[in-house]
Amino acid sequence: MKLQTAVFTVIIVTVAMAALLFYINKKLKDFDPLSEPKGIVLLVIMYAQMIDKMVKEKTNDEVATYLTPYIMSVAAFIFLSNILGLFALETPTSNLSVTLVLAAVTCILIEFYSAKARGAKGYIKSWFEPMAPFVILNIMSKLSTLLSLSLRLFGNILSGGILMSVIYQMLGSISRMIPVIGAKFNIFGVLIAPVLHFYFDLFSGVMQAFIFITLTTSFIGKELPNK
């Protein structure tokens, strides 16, 4: 059985994230709370505040206590996966299995908070609302959440990766026209591709991670009683 590349790239992302977290943990322990934060400490504090504010706005305080750490880690994971294309590796999020797992966790969380808010009886009843035959439509709407969340991330990142490889091929065939160095060195690729990498990897990566966590918190917030 041949393993897919995503298996290895996910391991790389996880190891990189663990190393980063160890480093940040050490920095935060050495940090004096009374002094002015700067560098990576400032970045981490701003990131934590941003996610905390966003989750508290969309859900209630009690849920936010448990949800914020998950949202923070999933956003960091998606972002790190998306920018892996910059290091000449295949992005794990351009594999449907990875994004499907991420979306499945979101769906399980939605159902969990829905059940917690409504109680066992109310939760079973919510599948048959407003009438009994609507159970088919309810199941389909839950499945479409799973599909659209996973396919959005997958499609955006995959299309970016495919476009980049097509552009590299095109620029390579153009630089082959240059007499001496062009045959061995993709000179136009070096000149033009960084701008496109900035858009397809960095901007799109940040955007998709942000959209994923925004949708996750919105869908969970929708199930809570007073929202």
Partner: protein, 76 residues
């Protein structure tokens, strides 16, 4: 001949994305207009606009997916 038809079908699929492009632009226009009218609500409008654009983008993503399926699965 078959390959050309498949390429044409994939191109036709991606055409569905152009409507999404126009409408997502409309989302951005409305968001900018309402932030101009009510700058205090900028945070809320921003997140709502992003969520709305992301949801309407699903249609274009499905078009792209079908195009990929045609190219990589039918065409392989």
């Amino acid at each position: 001949m078959e390959k050309a038809l498949m390429a044409f079908a994939a191109a036709m699929c991606v055409c569905g994305g152009c409507v999404t492009g126009i409408m997502e632009g409309k989302v951005a226009v409305q968001a900018v207009e309402s932030i101009g009218k009510n700058p205090d609500a900028a945070d809320k409008i921003q997140s709502m606009a992003i969520v709305g654009a992301a949801i309407s983008e699903t249609c274009a993503i499905y078009c792209l997916l079908v195009a990929f399926l045609i190219i990589f699965i039918l065409g392989a």
